[in-house]
Symmetry: C3
Subunit: 461 residues, 3 copies
């Protein structure tokens, strides 16, 4: 019933398979958590430390030796100490010669040093084979086994065999190794755990900018204008009415911005007559964050739905309806039923519902586990065909919502058009250009270009 037989292993070899010994330099949180997990997975662990006394925190079954002794016992050594103390390895250079050193360190800031920790280590001990790994895994996750955040371990290194050894350990611990190539990738890997949603930055800052703009725009039109002209206080509009103007506007604009770069790329390819010249950098970046743009748009659509559905519960709306009914009753007058109003109201709601439904479908298919289970053709069908259908439905929803409003003078307070009109500009441009691109006279050459045809080929195979 001895689950930590590592000490015994060093002396005798009672079982048929000798357990591999790994060495860990540094008895801090991460070193101990790693040791704990490795012993659990059947490895024999020896710590290299300045102080050889065994603390109660050291996992049971692990030995603690001096750095030199520990290094001699294993062919693979985890360097679980901060970069600032790497210097102390210099006197050990000889014993570390030919060993695999695993750099698990992280920095506190993005690009803190010009050289990555792993490359610095490789330069300090040129005789060792340095592999970068495990820096994205937290000590707490290792020890508690709740590896919710990520099971992926990025691995890079110049020595292929050393990298393979580390990746085998990663797999043995129940994690997934991802080979990132040579040690040059270490900088990127070290930056990875310090990043905070890098792909989301552009969509979120763009949204914040648009929110600020449309908030003040609507504030002027819907709150300040009636206050100045009619001395009516509609400040409470801020909580729901204005929010429910901003959300659909942002949802529509951001959704259109998902499809705009594809349209631009098609124009560029048609103009250049080849697909083999690179797009401008901003277009490349824009195309890479389309998924995030779409999901932010979905979030605003979701908020719009909630804001719309609570309308009948709002005190203001209930009061307005009731006082309208009462004044009709008191004046002995009944509004006539208007069939075209019924059509407009119902079809704008129906378009919105269908658009939102497809939008949610798009969102679900962009979940990693769902998109992994469809093939490329299916993924493109959903993201392109269904995506354009969503854009068409949402644009139509807004158009029908507006109806004839753009003809009324009351829609132009202080010459400012209703906010929904502004939101229609980008989606209408995208849809019109896309419609033009789908015409056979443009679609045919574009398809040929995308299959590799070039108008002015540079070489022929």
């Amino acid at each position: 019933m001895n689950s930590n037989p590592s000490n015994a292993m060093a002396l005798t070899s009672t079982t048929s398979n000798k357990k591999e010994t790994v060495c860990i330099f540094g008895t801090g949180d991460f070193g101990r958590a790693l040791a704990y997990k490795m012993i659990q997975s059947g490895y024999s662990v020896v710590f290299g430390s300045r102080q050889v006394q065994i603390s109660s925190l050291i996992p049971k079954g692990a030995e603690v030796l001096s750095h030199t002794e520990a290094a001699q016992k294993a062919s693979i050594i985890f360097i679980a100490i901060p970069r600032q103390h790497y210097n102390f390895l210099l006197p050990l250079a000889e014993v570390l010669n030919g060993k695999v050193l695993v750099d698990v360190s992280n920095n506190l800031k993005l690009n803190q040093y010009s050289q990555s920790n792993a490359e610095y280590l490789a330069q300090l001990i040129p005789g060792a084979k340095v592999v970068k790994a495990f820096n994205t895994v937290s000590a707490w996750a290792l020890q508690s086994g709740t590896l919710d955040a990520s099971r992926q371990v990025f691995v890079c290194g110049d020595d292929k065999k050393a990298k393979q050894m580390v990746m085998d350990i990663v797999r043995a611990l129940g994690l997934t190794p991802l080979d990132q190539g040579s040690l040059l990738a270490a900088q990127e890997i070290e930056n990875y755990p310090l990043q905070l949603f890098p792909m989301w930055k552009f969509p979120i800052f763009l949204s914040l900018g648009l929110i600020a703009f449309f908030f003040f725009y609507c504030l002027i039109r819907d709150v300040i204008y009636p206050y100045v002209n009619e001395k009516k206080d509609f400040s409470f509009f801020i909580a729901i009415s204005i929010a429910n103007r901003i959300c659909p506007i942002l949802a529509l604009i951001l959704l259109a911005l998902v499809y705009l770069p594809g349209v631009l790329a098609a124009i560029i390819q048609l103009y250049r007559g080849t697909k083999y010249s690179r797009f401008p950098d901003w277009l490349d970046k824009w195309m890479l964050c389309r998924k995030q743009l779409g999901l932010v748009a979905l979030a605003f659509a979701f908020l719009h739905v909630l804001y719309t559905l609570v309308i009948p519960i709002r005190y203001y709306v209930r009061w307005r309806t009731n006082s309208g009914v009462i004044s009709q009753a008191l004046n002995n007058r009944t509004d006539q039923f208007n069939n075209s109003n019924a059509w407009l109201s119902d079809s704008y709601l129906a378009l919105g519902i269908l658009g939102f439904f497809l939008f949610v479908l798009l969102g679900i298919t962009s979940l990693p586990s769902v998109s992994n289970s469809v093939n490329w053709r299916e993924f493109r069908f959903v993201q392109s065909k269904l995506g354009y259908l969503t854009l068409i439905l949402c644009t139509a929803h807004t158009l029908v919502y507006g109806g004839k409003r753009f003809l009324y003078a009351s829609s132009y307070r202080w010459y400012l058009p209703n906010a929904y009109m502004l939101s229609l500009i980008v989606p209408c441009i995208v849809l019109v250009v896309k419609f033009v691109l789908v015409l056979p006279c443009l679609d045919k050459p574009l398809t040929r270009i995308r299959q590799g045809w070039e108008r002015n080929p540079r070489y022929s195979e």
Copy 2:
């Protein structure tokens, strides 16, 4: 800082581990993308091409040689050229002898050729070991690294060692190989990327058929009948009112169809007295697309919820409510509060809410990543127990919604019953039969049959 040392590698061997060399025939999009990814992952790549001049499109670090020279440099050769040009390999048969040929090709149509491309290749070069792989991965995904659509690479081949070599490469590129067996599976693998939601076809065509039927049914009852009889124009009902009749009907029927095959299978097993004879083919197919049926049902339930929640916002509903109130006020009359109406209204809404809630729960647990994290007993508990509870709640919701309506003559316009009554047929049958099957006198033999007991055993172990 040289990240593409492959050319140097051919001459000298400065590092301790020699990089493996792979050969790629064909310098088209896929060949180049594959080369790019392989060089990134530490392989040395040599292209075989008719034209040995290096184009700017060839990834840095790759060599371009004649086919024969390139083939001699590597033990594994990727054939990244279309099937029509496979003939040119015939003169190379000798140099390809014993090599691993990886067929990455795709066709344009399902079952385009009677023989799969990979089998055709194996027949052309009988001395080579042909492995089918990579055809489900797109060039663009390889090059950009955005492998959203799928990380799975289906691999098949008759030679186990060759297959293992290819699977190692797949893993090294950060993808997941899935062994599909012998080269016989190539046809299926080549068809895979051409499929468009094959499992969804039956549920979607069934839904479209049912939608068409119920649309005309409701159109006749709700729009044409009042127009013919009372000259009232209710055509605007199409947008929301009729849609909100069709959606719950389809949700309920499709949900019942998820559980009907299980009930049929139980009856067949009881009748035959064994579980070891195959079900009819249609039943097998039906059982395999139950998940898709359920998800389509959920989509209709979701639409039903949205259509229902916008009811108070509709112009028609607001007008009808207001004119009702005004006429009451003008006639100095107040409707009495009816307690049983309040009970009916609230309980049908509550049943619907709870049913929809469980339905969403079922949907969430059928997400691949969620169903992967539960064990078999938990999965069955959710899909069977919670599923039947959902069906019971949704059927009860419909029954209470109907209430006494089926007794009123007005529910039978032109002898056509209200559409909701039709929707109750299938779920009621399923629930009644299931209830009978759960009775001990039938449940006990069924359980024994499912544990392997046979009424007329064919052999005893």
Copy 3:
């Protein structure tokens, strides 16, 4: 075109790679399903059975031999028979010596035997290398290929090489092996498929208890009190009104309980001055089921949203609104518009909408596939920062909903305060204590403690 060449293989070796032969003891459902899958993946399968005659159920290509003969043909033997029959292996001990025995058995109850099946097997045949695996996979899933429930195969065993062999087979079948360490883990692995949402038990029982309490509390206040005092029958409130009181209360309390253990842990760490002493057991368990608590809270919030949005459709609400309007009209009186009421109503709805939106976001990020694709810092940002923001918004939503109600005598029927007031206790405590902990005078020492600093260090490195 022979896809089952295993029998031929035993005689001749026509292909370059000899297929590995595995032996299966037992021709029951699981044994046959396993054989079917293995033959499909290119293995050669031989059954060991008491009866050597081939049944029609045996997969094509598999041989059936006596136990001894079958065992001699393979180095790895799957024991697909129930534990009660393990005794029959005793006479085979000699031929099983040195073989890898894979125990695939399951029990019917949790902890049915004091010793796990695999350990019992290892004790019976001490010369064999026993590996526990495959018990979480069902025969049906293996045969039909619909491995929805789980692709994970837990593997444990004392012999590392034997374990590796089994894990290779698991991978070859397209499944994912997870090394669980030595054979001591077998008990846990055997219990795994018998568990039914063990992490969800505490949250669900807690919810049921709270539901029962708040149901009777609201029943007394909202149904029994008006019946006793005013002889009014509000029994129909049970379906929606009371449900819509209980759901938000539970959502808020459970959400606060997600963050309470973190706050308690911080207080304990501050008090002890170290992070290296273990938390009390109940706190550890509580912290491990926070995710489940949060998801149950989200479920109640979702129900609350649905219950709230159907309010305007309810017969009771429509009747109450209409009769209020009619009585105003008949009395020639109009309610004045109250600006602060509009502010309160709109801001409580807006807070609720935003809170629910963030809640849904938290739920989505806790999906396994989503949480796997973010790094540790991002996961903590969402779960901690956004989580607290959600709690603040939901608490504010409840506070604004209450408004000045707590001052009115009518809120205290039979001295019982309104139920929403009770729901505010836990979240307010959590938020106040968290606010205190964030003050620099406490935050600084806490951060240092969490970085490993100890007030009374036990040893210095």
